[in-house]
């Protein structure tokens, strides 16, 4: 016994006496790996893996250990179960991922109680960050795209009237509310607002779009989760000949995720979206990011806005680990060092607002074009620098609490 004790002390002394005590930070990643939205999970996961592969040396001698779990369908129930397991059984010190808002909403009370930081890489319902002091978000709030799109649509695209159509779950309501607020403030008139069923319903939008086409608004603002539904929107829009009928398709960038854009065909050309990322964004970090992505995943695999946010999320987590030298047991310290964090990534410069723990980033109005090489791409029409989440700035509804 006595000898054992002495050996232990000696071992500790030796390790400390070396350079620094190396820590292994356990990170729980919760993303949809199965079901209809598995591809969304993979878009984020590939970015996480790529960042870790290229930057593991940045946090040496500390290491990370990543444990991945399936977020499941966009209902939140499975995400809550697996994330709770990650906290209680696997003792993860940081949680990240979360494609769907319902997952983040369901988990907020859990992370508050467990004091585990939850770094959101996608889920965009604006008021999520208000739900727990342990939440920080690197992706976007639905207001980042929807609100500035309101004024832009009225002033620059020529939408005097607009119909709204959205998938009926929290981010859908949020995105259309954001657009409506900005649009009406600018002087536009919303003709109607159509909930198009839940995210797990059949994505046949034709009857809804036919109704809008017959009502002839100048523009149609659509929010859908960026999976299979995105392609469905462009197809139904194209089939019904709505552009010819004078109804412009606008929305947040979820309408034209980069990894599905090539499949959308001519129907997508002319669509104008507001967003924080596109493969075609012209900055050095994005070029390097795309190069690394293609080297790792092949030339036909494209990152998208989810991947870009995934990359920045891991970047922020790594910087926090570095700053705390791997000592992340105290979740509130992790969140504290993230407040005010600034970094450069595929989206250009992004930072975390110290007051709201939500991301601050540039927003671009982007139009889908046919590029000279025959592929579909985007053209940046205009950029607004350092956009904050207006929902919290204006204290709208639950964002004000």
């Amino acid at each position: 016994m006595r000898l054992n004790g002495w050996l232990g002390v000696a071992a500790v002394a030796l390790t400390v006496g070396g350079t620094a005590l190396a820590e292994t930070v356990k990170i729980g990643v919760v993303l949809p790996f199965s079901g209809a939205n598995a591809d969304l999970g993979h878009q984020v996961d590939k970015a996480f893996d790529l960042y870790v592969k290229l930057h593991a040396k940045d946090i040496e001698p500390n290491k990370i250990e990543i444990i991945k779990r399936d977020e499941g369908p966009p209902t939140g129930a499975q995400a809550k179960t697996v994330a709770t397991e990650l906290i209680t059984n696997d003792k993860v010190q940081i949680l990240t991922g979360f494609v769907f808002s319902p997952s983040a909403i369901a988990l907020a009370p859990v992370v508050t109680q467990a004091k585990v930081p939850m770094i959101i890489a996608n889920a965009g319902t604006a008021w999520i960050t208000n739900l727990s002091p342990y939440i920080a978000r690197l992706s976007f709030s639905m207001w980042h795209h929807g609100y500035p799109m309101g004024a832009y649509a009225f002033n620059k695209i020529g939408c005097k009237t607009a119909a709204l159509a959205y998938t009926d779950f929290p981010p859908g309501k949020d995105s259309t509310e954001a657009f409506k607020t900005g649009f009406e403030k600018a002087g536009g008139k919303v003709t109607e607002s159509i909930p198009m069923g839940s995210p797990v319903q059949v994505p046949d939008f034709t009857p809804f779009f036919q109704r809008i086409k017959d009502a002839k608004p100048d523009c149609m603002y659509v929010f859908i989760p960026s999976g299979a539904h995105a392609t469905g929107v462009t197809k139904a829009y194209g089939e019904l000949g709505m552009r010819k009928a004078g109804v412009k398709l606008i929305g947040p960038m979820d309408l034209i995720p980069d990894n599905k854009l090539q499949d959308m065909g001519d129907a997508a050309i002319g669509t104008v979206v507001m967003g924080n990322y596109a493969v075609d964004l012209d900055n050095a970090d994005n070029k390097a990011f795309n190069k690394a992505w293609h080297e790792a995943y092949g030339k036909d695999s494209y990152p998208d806005f989810m991947s870009a946010a995934g990359w920045d999320t891991m970047h922020a987590i790594f910087d926090a680990i570095k700053k705390l030298n791997g000592k992340v047991e105290d979740g509130s310290k992790v969140i504290d060092v993230m407040k005010g964090w600034t970094g450069n990534g595929p989206r250009g410069q992004v930072s975390i607002d110290a007051a709201t723990r939500d991301v601050v980033q540039d927003e671009h109005a982007m139009e889908v074009i046919r590029k000279p090489d025959g592929k579909l791409g985007i053209k940046v029409l205009g950029t607004t620098k350092a956009v904050k989440d207006e929902c919290k700035e204006l204290k709208v509804g639950r964002c004000g609490s």
Partner: protein
């Protein structure tokens, strides 16, 4: 054209196109469930397989869309015979639960296989020029692809009706659905008949899967995602009835489209409301035997 008439035409046209799609994908399931009482939850997996055959043929081998649909139906129909002979036939006399477990297991394996081979990103299919855009029918424009669905559905209904009502094999199938033991007693090889109808049903599912790519997109989860929809059509129509499946597809397709158009706020609620009402009044479906 007056606005009301215009709306009615929109709803009827879109509803009809959707109904044809529902009919094509569900009719095989209805017949196999009616004939052998076999609960085939892997039906959606055969539809998905058809979709991926079409994607592979058009994208990788440059085969046209319509020939690809035919090839997909034939290939999947033929492959389904192997499944029927090796797996399904063992469970013909088993309980529903065992059949459900086998076939839902197959569906999940199909999802994993498709994810492995094609990845989780939804696929789309290149359409020929004449199926893109819209077609002018004199008084207004209609989306070409949906017009194509309606024509194809009408042709299939005619062919199936003829095969069922006017051919020897059709008569045997009807006999087997009505009274299996009596059919066997008079010397009809019901076992072989089932293999045949199973293949035809799976082939039709594959055709439906190929047609669905443009409507719904195609990803591995297709195998179970729309299964509920197919089962609703079968339940509302009544097991084993061609007429019932057609009527159910029409009612559901048109009510769904009409509901979404006229009362957009209620969204996709209508399919379920119609299902509940029909099944309350006729628990065995339109043409099912009580």
């Amino acid at each position: 054209m007056p606005q009301v008439a215009n709306i009615a035409v929109s709803i009827l046209f879109d509803g009809l196109a959707y109904a044809m799609f529902l009919f094509i994908t569900s009719v095989g399931l209805s017949v196999t469930m009616g004939l052998m009482g076999f609960v085939n939850l892997a039906h959606g997996a055969f539809a998905m397989a058809g979709g991926y055959v079409v994607v592979t043929l058009t994208r990788t081998y440059g085969v046209g869309f319509v020939p690809s649909l035919v090839i997909a139906a034939v290939v999947v129909g033929a492959v389904s015979v192997v499944f029927e002979r090796v797996l399904y036939r063992r469970l013909y006399k088993s309980t529903d639960l065992e059949q459900v477990l086998l076939t839902i297991g197959l569906a999940f394996m199909a999802i994993a296989t498709a994810t492995y081979l094609y990845g989780p990103i939804p696929k789309s299919v290149p359409l020929p020029e004449w199926l893109q855009g819209d077609v002018n029918l004199g008084f207004r424009y209609f989306p070409s692809y949906r017009a194509f669905l309606i024509v194809l559905g009408a042709v299939l209904i005619a062919v199936l009706w003829y095969a069922f009502e006017r051919t020897n094999i059709g008569a045997k199938i009807r006999a087997a659905v009505d009274n299996r033991r009596m059919a066997e007693s008079v010397g009809i090889n019901v076992d072989r008949l089932f293999t045949l109808t199973f293949a035809v049903g799976s082939g039709l599912a594959a055709l439906g899967g190929g047609l669905a790519i443009q409507l719904l997109g195609l990803s591995p989860s297709f195998a179970v995602l729309y299964l509920v929809l197919f089962l609703i059509v079968v339940a509302v129509g009544g097991l084993g009835s061609l007429k019932g499946t057609l009527l159910a597809a029409l009612v559901l397709g048109i009510f769904d489209t009409g509901g979404k158009y006229l009362l957009a706020d209620a969204g996709g609620f209508f399919v379920y409301a119609v299902t509940v009402v029909v099944l309350l009044i006729k628990p065995a479906g339109f043409y099912g035997r009580e």
